[in-house]
Symmetry: C2
DNA sequence: GACTTTATATATCGGAGTGATAGTATGCAT
DNA sequence: ATGCATACTATCACTCCGATATATAAAGTC
């Protein structure tokens, strides 16, 4: 399940341009599968070349031509095949946790700053989830609701853990020890 | 905070070879910062070239020479600077959730298989965390304890969410509807 | 005794993805 | 009038991932 396949899945729901897909990646998919133009445009080109999507160029004045992609029958079949993968991965890449591993080399102020930025990020996600819930999430397919609920549950658990355990980081670091003599 | 910096941080705790670091990445760092030889060896070469680590080649019979890396003063200073980054990221890349977004295109059996493999993965992580706890985690620096507790809390929350919400996925999919007529 | 797996140790390479940058136009605010 | 957001495309250098290659010994298994 790479960017190509996710794009294909999004297009299975209706035609769209690369720009449209990017907005999708930034909203409902943001918390578990980010992708930028650098992956989306090459993905769409490659899908078109493989005949899994059709591309219609819609000329526009002033702006660049809008390229609208539509999934083909072969594309739909390819998607169905891709969904047969029995053990899809779930990976975390956290510079935050990597940094916290070395908390004993940081000052309490540095640690506090990092935690604050993490909590801000968490709050951004929480308001995003809240917005989903208040803008017709009930009509989404079950899978999408499951996925967003998953993100919300994880984000809440993260905030709770940080609040309840940050004392482990700020108490008695190497920096505070040397500062205190 | 890239692989290079994490290697530097590990070496701040004592000299090690690329092979040693890999084992570290596979145990305590596995749940939030995976790295393979394809990232570790180039990282070490680059750190050595920049003078942030020293390399001592220890000849061995039969096996390839063991290259032991040791952090330099410049390297330690570089690490301290890297830890000043105020907003380190925390990213999830989940083919699992991406797949679940398209649950309406899957059979209940396919969905069940995917969930089972995820739960197995969760159990592997849980027994890993359990092993950490029973093998002298109390002596670890606060940061490492925080990070492992974080992983455990997230993993537990994940299992709980899946158990309580998987019904959202298996009920009434497109496949089950058409199978039922 | 032969066979496979596991552990020790290095390293490279193709392909995938990231983040920054670039170009070009409209419209809206300050 | 200058900057900023929105709409739309696209590329490029770099980093990272996963698989693969190479070589040997110990330990388990059939």
């Amino acid at each position: 399940m790479d960017v190509k396949t996710v794009c294909l899945g999004m297009l299975d729901d209706g035609e769209a341009s690369g720009y449209d897909l990017k907005k999708h990646f930034e909203s409902t998919f943001a918390h578990f599968f980010a992708a930028g133009y650098g992956s989306i445009y090459p993905a769409l080109s490659s899908l078109a070349e493989a005949g899994l999507v059709d591309c219609e160029e819609i000329p526009q004045e002033g702006k660049p031509d809008r390229k609208v992609y539509r999934i083909t029958d072969a594309g739909h079949q390819h998607l169905l095949d891709a969904l047969k993968q029995p053990a899809p991965s779930h990976k975390v890449r956290s510079e935050f946790l990597a940094t916290m591993c070395f908390a004993h080399l940081m000052t309490p102020e540095q640690i506090e700053t990092v935690l604050e930025s993490r909590v801000k990020d968490i709050d951004r996600y929480m308001s995003m989830f809240h917005e989903f819930e208040t803008t017709g999430m009930e009509e989404w397919p079950g899978g999408m609701r499951f996925v967003c609920g998953f993100g919300k549950a994880m984000t809440e658990a993260m905030r709770k853990y940080i609040e309840e355990n940050k004392h482990m980081l700020t108490q008695q670091t190497a920096a505070s020890r040397s500062a205190a003599g």
